[in-house]
């Protein structure tokens, strides 16, 4: 592998990985705080991407689409939590997973119904078109944008969780919900907001990944499986774990496609099975 190829793969792996951080960390946050594994996460991301596509068709520019689409999806997440998840918290956690599977089915097929089965593309903003020279390698500007944007957002989320009062409440809620409520904090409201925030972050990931690659009605599975595997590798409910898992996954995808063409889809599942059998609790403990 020549140096240029190596740098290209490294950059591409980090780019996919950083976008996956947005999916994985919000999935992990929802699991950590609410105990819900949200199978609809990929579908929400996909819905975000398609909404952005339509917004751009309606003459909004890319940046407005990147803001408005996650807002709409976040609102939808709020409604999903209020009307479908909330009645199930006292029940068997499996039931919540089954429910999110049903929600994923509904969203995915609404998308298929509304936008059709053909692959679509989101127009990238003019300032981000064309390549840029890094270490002698020509790398598309937009991918570089995806990397820095996701990394900045992930950093912001990390600061939010560790440095703000809200973050303290979230982390305390992961440990002991009753105790937090005893301090007069309404955890039900926190649950709703966490789910809405998670949905919005998933939509952001959907929009930028959709613009980087393309939009298709099966991208939801790729996203949710990618996110779940990253979370499982890193350890359910751990933010740092989700970041680590997403980067491992992104790099194994880009280098896997290079070293073992045709088997890159297998590697993802092999990594997941190996980690689950070897260390069911994941690589990182704690937030």
């Amino acid at each position: 592998m020549s140096f240029e190829v190596f740098v290209t793969n490294l950059l591409y792996g980090l780019t996919i990985g950083s976008a996956l951080i947005l999916v994985a960390s919000s999935l992990s946050l929802i699991f950590g705080v609410m105990g819900v594994v949200n199978f609809a996460h990929g579908s929400l991301a996909m819905l975000g991407a398609y909404l952005a596509y339509t917004l751009i068709l309606l003459k909004f520019n890319f940046w407005w689409a990147l803001i408005l689409s996650p807002l709409v999806v976040g609102l939808l997440g709020l409604l999903i939590e209020l009307f479908t998840l909330r009645p199930l918290y006292a029940r068997n956690p499996l039931l919540q997973f089954f429910l999110t599977y049903g929600v994923a089915m509904i969203i995915a097929n609404v998308v298929l119904y509304a936008w059709g089965g053909d692959a679509l593309g989101i127009d990238k903003p003019g300032s981000l078109q064309g390549p840029v020279n890094i270490l002698g390698v020509y790398y598309p500007k937009f991918r570089l944008f995806v990397f820095f944007f996701s990394a900045a957002l992930a950093l912001g989320l990390w600061l939010f969780i560790t440095k703000t009062t809200w973050g303290v409440i979230l982390r305390a809620g992961i440990h002991n919900r009753e105790l937090v409520e005893a301090f007069g904090i309404n955890m039900s409201r926190v649950f709703t907001l966490v789910f809405a925030l998670g949905s919005a972050l998933a939509a952001v990931a959907g929009v930028i990944l959709g613009a980087m690659r393309n939009l298709n009605p099966v991208m939801d599975l790729d996203l949710v499986i990618g996110g779940l595997i990253a979370v499982v590798i890193g350890g359910l409910g751990s933010f740092r774990g989700a970041v680590l898992g997403a980067l491992i996954l992104g790099l194994s995808e880009s280098f896997g496609a290079q070293l073992m063409p045709g088997f890159s889809k297998f590697t993802v599942y092999i990594v997941m099975v190996a980690i689950l059998l070897w260390r069911p609790e994941g690589l990182v403990r704690g937030v």
């Binding site: 089954f98 089915m105 097929n109 298929l112 359910l236 599942y269 689950l276």
Partner: protein, 340 residues
């Protein structure tokens, strides 16, 4: 026997008689059904019922695992698909005998069940879901790219299976009775299993795994047995599916199918055996009606129905019927709260 006991005994007897009566009438209707095909009812419904019987077998096995044992597998298509492909390869390249294909499917799925089960059953809940899902995806991706079985295009030109007696399995009506026979057989065997000591132990594991272990049961072996039984049921279903369709493609391994099997079980009523068969009938019928004008997007309706059931009647259609009908009729059909 006190008065109250005698009364309870009488109602139980009455309910049991009523259920037996219901079962006989239903079975008689199903047996007579093809005779009216082409005149009273459309031929199309015979075909629909064959598919319901086939998936009924699959979901019966799945119910032993999820409904009785409480283990939610999200990769059950791996067994259905393996049965379907084993049958397809045998029919096309070895012999069109349905008995050989059934035997081979059962053997293959039992071995696969032991292997995958051994690796998966140490984990619980969501990890079990992810692991079974990942294993099923291996099969999907593999059969989607294996040239010998036609890769993503599927495997066409599979000959009609033969019975070894002068009855043509290529005939729709014959296949109808053949698959109905298997459904009834599958039900009888499953009923026997869930009423055996193993079945009781499985319910014990579902309700409280630790306590069951302390009672002296080998919990892992019980779960593994349930897993293998459900795998074999899936294999038989897959084999019957290929025998009827004469075509196999990697869609038999698709994760959406695993999800649909789960939905059939949950919609019908987990842990009741008869409920899952009703669930299979409901899902397949709904799919047929809706997909004529909605194509694949009919799944959005199924998803909505499924979500409504989870929220308002997790005991499924049978649970709903139990609440709607006089209590003694269903008093012993739906036991306890079911898996959830």
């Amino acid at each position: 026997m006190s008065g109250a006991q005698a009364f309870e005994y009488r109602t139980m007897r009455a309910a049991a008689d009523y259920k037996r009566y219901l079962a006989v009438v239903l079975l008689a209707l199903l047996v007579l059904f093809p005779l009216g095909a082409g005149t009273v009812v459309s031929e199309f419904y015979v075909s629909l019922l064959v598919r319901i019987f086939v998936f009924g077998v699959v979901v019966l096995g799945f119910d032993i695992l999820l409904g009785y044992c409480g283990m939610a597998s999200f990769g059950h298509a791996m067994f259905f698909g393996s049965g379907a492909y084993v049958a397809g390869i045998l029919f096309k390249h070895v012999s069109p005998s349905i008995w050989l294909a059934l035997g081979a499917s059962v053997a293959a799925c039992a071995m696969l069940g032991v292997l995958v089960g051994y690796l998966c059953i140490r984990s619980r809940g969501l990890y079990f879901i992810f692991l079974t899902f990942a294993f099923a995806q291996f099969f999907y991706l593999f059969f989607n790219s294996w040239q010998f079985v036609g890769a993503a295009d599927g495997m066409p030109g599979i000959p009609k299976p033969t019975l070894g007696i002068p009855l043509d399995l290529g005939n729709r009506t014959v296949y109808y009775y053949f698959s109905l026979l298997f459904l009834v057989l599958a039900y009888v065997v499953a009923r026997h299993i869930v009423r055996s000591p193993l079945g009781r132990a499985l319910v014990g594991i579902r309700e409280n795994e630790e306590r069951t272990e302390f009672l002296g049961f080998n919990v892992h072996r019980c779960i593994l047995t349930a897993f293998v039984i459900s795998a074999v049921y899936g294999g038989v279903g897959g084999c019957l599916f290929t025998g009827y369709q004469n075509f196999v493609s990697s869609s038999v391994y698709h994760w959406g199918l695993s999800g649909e099997i789960l939905i059939m079980d949950l919609l019908g009523g987990m842990g009741t055996l008869i409920g899952p068969v009703i669930g299979a009938a409901f899902v397949i019928y709904l799919g047929d009606v809706l997909s004529t004008w909605m194509h694949d997007t009919w799944l959005m309706v199924l998803g909505a129905v499924y979500v409504v059931f989870i929220l308002f009647s997790p005991e499924g259609i049978l649970g709903l019927a139990k609440r709607a009908l006089p209590s003694q009729v269903f008093s012993h059909v739906v036991r306890g709260k079911g898996a959830l």
